[in-house]
């Protein structure tokens, strides 16, 4: 069935029995309502035109202007012969001028049109005249009182004898309410498209809650009652496969699935750290939680896992800590305590260590501080570099220096859990100095044309001695300061803005550059761009990973790049995962990109590498 069939079917003029019945009822109602209205002295004819439109003799202009008047719409008439322009009283009202107050002319008409719409309105009129037929346009007019209204104009070409065009009549309607409603509908539709209903909850590798999300759930549980938090640390036991293939991703997923299976329904499982899974047992007494935790750890130890072509066993240790409302510990504290507990278990050769309450705050801080300092003192870190592509040259011109803590087995691991702890106990400056020292050495050894980007925690910028230290290093290693960009990683706890600013200005005077990292998330704000002499903004990867499918991310990145350009700031995008994304970002005018598509972080020469006797489960800890 097509349109013509439907039209043919609909064309049947015979009224249905229902329509006939309604018409009969209507006749009675009409007579009754007419009688009531006249009895009440109401005028039922009003401004209705009683003449027969089919027999009335009138030219097209008269007819259209009359129709507009009856519909209470404005009309504007232009006659080609004389070039004369007139408009109706209703049109005057639409323009917000009393009828007769303004002499109608093309100039006075366009003087009332919003300047931004004037060209479009004028074009519509010209188009109608040139094409010789109707066109419609919506534009804004500014009324005499300064208010703006939206008007719709139907611009018709009128013709006389022999269909010869002789003028234009525009029928004009104030459509402000309709237009605002339409704009609001459009806006809501756009918003539905661009707002992300919920952040991703699940870790892509394991399917567990992400670290951020799990921490959040622990926080919620802490406020709501009693329970216990278990952190299970796993390590692959036994020698790695001779062929060197990596079973890690498959294994971590298998381990995660197994833990979820053994844990009681209702227990929340999440990624906590490198090779660490958290199990939140809310509303569970310590004794029951301990028994369950022990069961999980023992089960893990007793299980053999299949990952790809590999059959593997894991070592596991559990750390359990009980929480209660009013403990005063945060979710972060609780996770640290559970981690300390599994370390204790590992040291003492137990499978599980349980603490009946969170550790005292100072004790916990001391434990963390000791861990960080021991790592720094024992060179428990290594450096990676990640290539950065300069989109103007399509060439890798820069490297970002990345820190990787080493685990107990001396292997580099994901830095964020460790850095979180260091930041909490204010030990980042110590780590940053470690990185700076090694980086300057590295730069001195590398080609003099390379450019390096080094991360500095905002807390380090507070350190009044840091600038002097940087100067010393540059002198000591003979580094060209123009080879170095310092990336400020902003945090909530910037101690002294003045001190940080002094450092920022100081390093720029030396000839180094300054970048703002993770822009667009966390604590970064526009005010940094005004008050700090930033040379480069690194747009947070959250806006880049899925930018090809996200109109919202596209809009934000486009605007951000535009703003940075205006401020004289370069832009870089992280987490670029494919060539199509690179092309998109190049089109937006982004200056630098880094990520999977350009190159993954690689250990610098001579650094410890991850291939040894026991490969630790790599869990994707960086949840977005």
């Amino acid at each position: 069935m097509d349109l013509d069939d439907i039209l043919a079917l609909a064309a049947d003029p015979t009224p249905t029995s229902f329509e006939s019945a309604r018409a009969r009822r209507a006749a009675d109602q009409v007579l009754r309502r007419y009688a009531d209205a006249t009895a009440a002295g109401l005028d039922v004819v009003g401004d209705v035109d009683p003449s027969d439109p089919l027999t009335t003799v009138a030219d097209e202009v008269t007819r259209i202007v009359r129709a507009a008047q009856l519909a209470k719409l404005g009309s504007v008439t232009w006659l080609a012969d004389t070039g004369e322009l007139t408009w109706s009283d209703d049109m005057s009202l639409i323009l917000g001028r009393p009828p007769g107050a303004v002499r109608p002319s093309i100039d006075s008409l366009f003087a009332a049109v919003h300047p931004a719409d004037a060209i479009q309105a004028h074009r519509a009129a010209v188009r109608a005249w040139v094409r010789g037929t109707v066109t419609e346009t919506t534009c804004r007019v500014i009324r005499h009182d300064g208010t703006t209204r939206y008007v719709h104009a139907m611009i018709e070409v009128v013709a006389g004898e022999g269909h010869r065009p002789y003028g234009i009549v525009a029928t004009v309607e104030d459509v402000t309410e309709l237009e605002l409603a339409r704009q609001e509908r459009d806006r809501l539709a756009r918003r539905r498209q661009t707002v992300r209903v919920e952040p991703p909850h699940a870790d892509p590798v394991t399917g567990l809650l992400t670290r951020v999300r799990f921490t959040d759930e622990v926080e919620r549980a802490l406020r709501a009652g009693t329970g216990a938090l278990l952190v299970v640390a796993t390590e692959m036991a036994g020698p790695a496969e001779a062929d060197g293939s990596s079973p890690e991703a498959g294994l971590s997923a298998a381990v995660a699935a197994f833990v979820m299976q053994v844990a009681k329904r209702g227990d929340l499982c999440g990624v906590v750290g490198y090779g660490e899974l958290g199990v939140l047992m809310h509303d569970t007494p310590l004794r029951a939680a301990t028994a369950r935790a022990r069961a999980i750890v023992e089960a893990l130890r007793g299980q053999s896992f299949v990952a790809g072509r590999h059959r593997l066993r894991v070592n596991a240790w559990g750390g359990l800590v009980r929480y209660r409302v009013g403990d005063g510990a945060s979710s972060f504290d609780l996770i640290i305590d559970a981690e300390s507990a599994w370390r204790r278990a590992k040291e003492t050769g137990e499978s599980l260590h349980a603490w009946p309450q969170p550790a005292p705050a100072d004790e916990r801080a001391e434990t963390c501080r000791t861990r960080v300092r021991a790592a720094v003192a024992g060179n428990g870190f290594t450096l990676y570099t990640q290539p950065i592509l300069d989109l103007r040259l399509n060439q890798i011109t820069r490297q970002e220096i990345l820190l990787r803590p080493l685990n107990d087995a001396g292997e580099p691991v994901s830095p964020s859990p460790f850095l979180d702890i260091a930041e909490r106990v204010d030990e980042m400056p110590v780590i940053d100095r470690w990185v700076l020292d090694r980086t300057m050495e590295l730069i001195a050894q590398g080609p003099p044309t390379s450019h390096y980007q080094v991360n500095l925690n905002a807390r380090s910028l507070d350190d009044p001695d840091l600038l002097g230290h940087v100067c010393d290093l540059i002198d000591q290693y003979g580094v060209d300061p123009r080879q170095v960009t310092f990336e400020m990683t902003e945090t909530a706890i910037i101690g002294s803005r003045a001190q940080a600013l002094a450092f920022a200005n100081g390093v720029r005077e030396l000839g180094c550059q300054l970048a703002l990292d993770d822009f667009g998330t966390g604590y970064s704000s526009f005010s940094y761009l005004r008050s700090f002499p930033i040379d480069l903004v690194k747009i947070d990867g959250e806006f880049i990973v899925d930018i090809r499918n996200s109109p919202a991310a596209q809009a934000m990145v486009v605007s951000l790049v535009q703003m940075c350009r205006a401020l004289g700031i370069l832009t870089a995008a992280e987490y670029v995962k494919d060539d199509a994304t690179i092309d998109l970002l190049r089109g937006y005018g982004v200056d630098f990109v880094q990520g999977e598509a350009v190159g993954m972080p690689r250990p610098i020469a001579g650094a410890p590498r991850s291939a040894g006797q026991s490969i630790v489960l790599e869990l994707a800890v960086r949840g977005l």
Binding site: M1, D2, L3, I6, L7, L9, A10, A11, D12, P13, T14, P15, T16, E19, S20, R22, A23, R24, A26, A27, Q29, V30, L31, R33, Y34, A37, V44, V45, G46, V48, D49, P50, D52, P53, L54, T55, T56, E60, R63, I64, A67, A68, L70, A71, K72, G132, T133, V134, E136, M154, E156, V157, V158, A159, H163, V169, E177, L178, A181, R185
Partner: protein, 180 residues
């Protein structure tokens, strides 16, 4: 006097009855047509009902004049448009909720004239007002000149919009799954 009066009264009553009867016939013939036209313009049946009623009340007020028309449907449509626009204007001021467009939905193929008309009306309402008015009158068999006169538009506007509206209608029909 006393003899004449009943005769005059009887004649008057007979004339009144004739007038009323002729109006009822008129209503019966044209009420469905006016309603059908307005349904192609407005989805709100209350507004359609009220506008239709008002047109016929006016028609009754002017019946002596109107009954002389050759083709009174032209006047009815012209007047019904204004009544509907006035009703819609009132409604717009009172609430913005009725401004939502009719949602697209896939319908089964119509099996009778009424279903076909309902479907067609739904599609016509998706066109700009002038285009749907012009197309609807053209489908009902009016000539281009008549349409121009009834709607108060230029003759070449009718010619252009008839073509444009028909193309749009075909697109809407195809989107709804009715392909040629």
């Amino acid at each position: 006097m006393s003899v004449v009066e009943p005769v005059a009264a009887r004649a008057e009553a007979a004339a009144a009855a004739e007038l009323r009867a002729s109006f009822e016939v008129f209503c019966h013939e044209y009420h469905p047509k006016v309603r059908r036209f307005l349904q192609g313009q407005c989805a709100d049946l209350d507004l359609v009902q009220e506008a239709t009623q008002e047109v016929f009340i006016t028609a009754w007020a002017k019946w002596g004049h109107l009954r002389e028309f050759d083709k009174p449907l032209g006047w009815l449509i012209k007047t019904a448009r204004y009544k509907l626009m006035a009703q819609q204007g009132l409604r717009r001021q009172n609430s913005m909720t009725t401004l939502d467009e009719v949602p697209d939905r896939l319908l089964a193929a119509p099996t009778n004239a009424q279903e076909a008309r309902d479907l067609l009306a739904e599609w016509l309402r998706q066109l700009p007002r002038r285009q749907s008015e012009i197309l609807q009158m053209s489908l009902d068999g009016w000539s281009d000149e008549e349409i121009a006169r009834v709607l108060g538009v230029a003759y070449n506007t009718v010619r252009t919009y008839k073509r444009v509206a028909r193309q749009r209608l075909r697109r809407i029909a195809e989107e709804a799954g009715f392909r040629a």
